[in-house]
């Protein structure tokens, strides 16, 4: 420590020195090594993340000849929306040549009740688990959590039988049920952690005020859990919208969701693979969750911080 010797300097010299030397904010170099490294790394990694999107968009705007000739990274010489039109409304699977348009409606019809039902059930579960424990509630919850890890494949067949027994096989409601069941573990965990982190005294106060199970849930807990609802909603919307396996197994062609339709289009190869149509179809299918992420990404991050990560 060099400054030790400085300690001998008499007060008066110090006061003289006080006029000199650095003053105010330390000047910062915008192009410091740290910044170059930081932003360099970020930009480099961004390329990895953006590349597929870029390629998909660019490809979907090219004509087939251009694709066959060229470079997947080069921007389209001649922008054409033909592939998008085709993917949306013309691509054929078997005899049906209505592209993704049909699947879109189905997906929406599946999505809305599934998201609503699964979040409703899971939030009630989480609330019961956090605030109204009863003997065995933790056991059921543990089973549920282990269930989150069970490969869906293990369950496919028993669920077919289950749905048959309750007569919902092939209907949209059957699929809604399946989504609610498989969304339950993670969502319940989210809600449980969130509600557990809420001050217990609030719950006690409401009980003293004579509110019952439902009264507390609707009047106290629900209004306070917007962030976690946002997280749950985003997770479920993407999960359900993107689901292929359940959609294909538990529905029928008339009710196929968009992903199944996408698979059909991509795998129904007529002569050559129409990459541009495939990419357009892929983008169209991903559009709904993508838009949701772009719009509510910030809320998502905040919600995760609020509930999902237990300290």
């Amino acid at each position: 420590m060099g400054e030790k010797s400085m300690a001998d300097v008499s007060p008066s010299t110090i006061d003289a020195a006080s006029m000199a030397g650095p003053r105010g904010t330390k000047p910062k170099n915008r192009l410091s090594r740290r910044n170059i490294f930081l932003y360099g790394t970020l930009i480099l990694i961004s390329v990895y993340y953006l590349l597929p999107l870029y390629v998909m968009v660019v490809t979907s705007l090219k004509g087939m000849p251009e694709i066959r000739m060229g470079n997947i990274f080069s921007p389209p010489v001649e922008v054409t929306f033909e592939p998008w039109v085709k993917a949306w409304s013309e691509a054929c699977t078997g005899l049906n040549c209505d592209g993704l348009s049909r699947g879109f409606g189905n997906s929406v019809r599946i999505l809305i009740p599934s998201v609503a039902l699964s979040i409703t059930i899971a939030s009630i579960n989480g609330y019961a688990l956090a605030n109204w424990r009863f003997k065995g509630s933790e056991v059921f919850f543990t089973i549920l959590i282990i269930g989150a890890f069970v490969p869906y494949q293990t369950m496919l067949y028993p669920i077919v039988i289950l749905l048959r027994e309750i007569g919902l096989m092939g209907s949209v409601w059957g699929l809604v049920l399946v989504h609610s069941v498989f969304g339950m573990p993670i969502l319940t965990l989210l809600f449980r952690n969130y509600f557990t982190a809420m001050p217990e005294e609030l719950f006690k106060a409401a009980r003293v005020d004579g509110a019952g199970f439902w009264g507390i849930y609707f009047r106290i807990m629900l209004p306070m859990s917007v962030p976690i609802f946002v997280v749950a909603m985003i997770l479920q919307v993407t999960g359900i919208w993107n689901d292929f396996l359940f959609g294909v197994i538990y529905t029928k062609p008339a009710t196929y969701p968009m992903t199944v339709q996408l698979n059909n289009i991509v795998n129904s190869v007529q002569g050559v693979k129409e990459y541009n149509v495939n990419m357009a179809a892929t983008l169209l299918t991903g559009l709904v969750p993508l838009v949701i992420y772009f719009i509510s990404g910030k809320l998502f991050v905040r919600g995760i911080a609020a509930g999902a990560v237990k300290g």
Binding site: L95, L156, V160, N267
Partner: protein
């Protein structure tokens, strides 16, 4: 009534063929054909079809490869019995070869309608490719192998091969019939004789397959029709693929003999197996649909529909009594073999799906790796020994 029909015919030729069914059904009856195509191969579609049938929400009719696949569904009483209309239509006498109907028969009752005959043992050759390589179009497998270096030199892939187990298994099966001969093939495939599978004739087959593997080294497409497309566009010399490839050539506007050549049995053995597609009619409750199911069943096997469908699909009709003169030369070759009785039972009937899957897995691995012929054979013998 609206009849929902599921199938996995989604490639160009297949879709054209199935539209013949739909057209005929919609035009000739009061019913509607609701198309339930599932893309991907049978591998994707079958679980969906089966789970729907088991799940109590069956479609009205569905394509399935007939044979052992559906035995249990029939046994469980999930399929409509077609015996009555079969007898009324005299299917027993019409269907040729009769093995096709046998495959639909379970404990004396008939449960499915065979709609076409498929044979897998074809080698499809591109004239364009051989012209580029400057060699004559081969007339059998041996010539093809001999011509391969020239193709390679011309920058072409000698053998197009989709990287999927079932395609590779077809190639293997075709090589077996051609190289090991029919008797040994029958011993192994029908009688599950593992000793024969371990024998010298099969060693030759595996070695041939190993060399075919080299020829297909640069073919990295996945789907069969993409491989066919390599032949059509002259990027590859040939492809071993079933007669359904015919449909692709047709859609591409190519003419057999001029643009491409087909060699049944690899040009070595004039013999074909008689697999095929069949339609099953799961039991449903709605009487209107039940009636429509029977109408569709009758319709599918009716002469005009058979002609129209099979011309489009490139497969052979299941009836011996119809006029297929408008078929092209490849199909004519097939019809001729059929007429000569050069038929073998298809593997769908010989081997369980379980065994087939195992063989396909083996083939997938074999074709994509450097697994030696001897090792592959040893593993094959293992599978055959355990086959049921």
């Amino acid at each position: 009534a609206d009849l929902e029909v599921t199938h996995w015919w989604t490639s160009g030729g297949e879709a054209a063929a199935v539209s013949e069914f739909a057209k005929a059904f919609t035009e000739k009856t009061d019913h509607n054909w609701v198309d339930g195509a599932i893309a991907g191969s049978g591998g994707t579609a079958r679980p969906i079809i089966i789970s729907r049938i088991i799940g109590g929400d069956p479609m009205a009719a569905t394509q399935l490869n007939h044979g052992r696949q559906s035995e249990e569904l029939i046994e469980a009483g999930l399929m409509t019995d077609l015996t009555e209309i079969a007898e009324a239509g005299g299917w027993k006498d019409l269907v040729n070869p009769s093995a096709l109907l046998d495959a639909c028969t379970f404990e004396g009752r008939i449960y499915c309608v065979p709609v076409n005959i498929h044979s897998a043992q074809w080698l499809w050759l591109s004239h364009d490719a051989f012209a580029k390589a400057g060699v004559a179009v081969p007339q059998d497998w041996h010539e093809f192998v001999a011509a391969a270096p020239a193709l390679e030199k011309a920058g072409l892939v000698p053998l197009a091969m989709g990287q999927q187990g079932w395609q590779q298994n077809i190639a293997f099966g075709t090589l077996t019939i051609a190289i090991a001969g029919i008797d040994d093939w029958r011993e192994v495939s029908v009688n599950k004789n593992a000793d024969v599978a371990a024998g010298g004739s099969y060693t030759a087959v595996f070695e041939a397959a190993a060399s075919a593997r080299e020829l297909a080294r640069d073919s990295n497409v996945q789907d069969w029709n993409l491989a066919t497309n390599m032949v059509i566009s002259g990027k590859a010399g040939g492809q071993i693929m079933g007669d359904w490839a015919q449909g692709e050539f047709q859609v591409a506007g190519q003419v057999a003999g001029d643009d491409y050549t087909c060699l049944p049995g690899l040009g070595i053995n004039q013999i074909l197996d008689t697999g095929g597609d069949a339609f099953y009619f799961p039991k449903v409750d709605d009487p209107a649909v039940q009636a429509a199911q029977l109408e569709l069943a009758t319709l599918l096997i009716s002469p005009e529909v058979q002609v129209a469908f099979n011309l489009a699909k490139g497969s052979l009709p299941v009836r011996g009594d119809i006029d297929m003169s408008s078929a092209n030369s490849c199909m004519q070759k097939g019809l001729q073999i059929l007429a000569d009785g050069g038929v073998l039972p298809s593997n769908d009937m010989n081997l369980s799906a379980d065994t087939t899957t195992q063989v396909e897995d083996l083939m997938a691995e074999f074709w994509a790796s450097d697994l030696s012929a001897a090792d592959a054979q040893a593993r094959y013998v293992d599978i055959i020994a355990r086959a049921d």
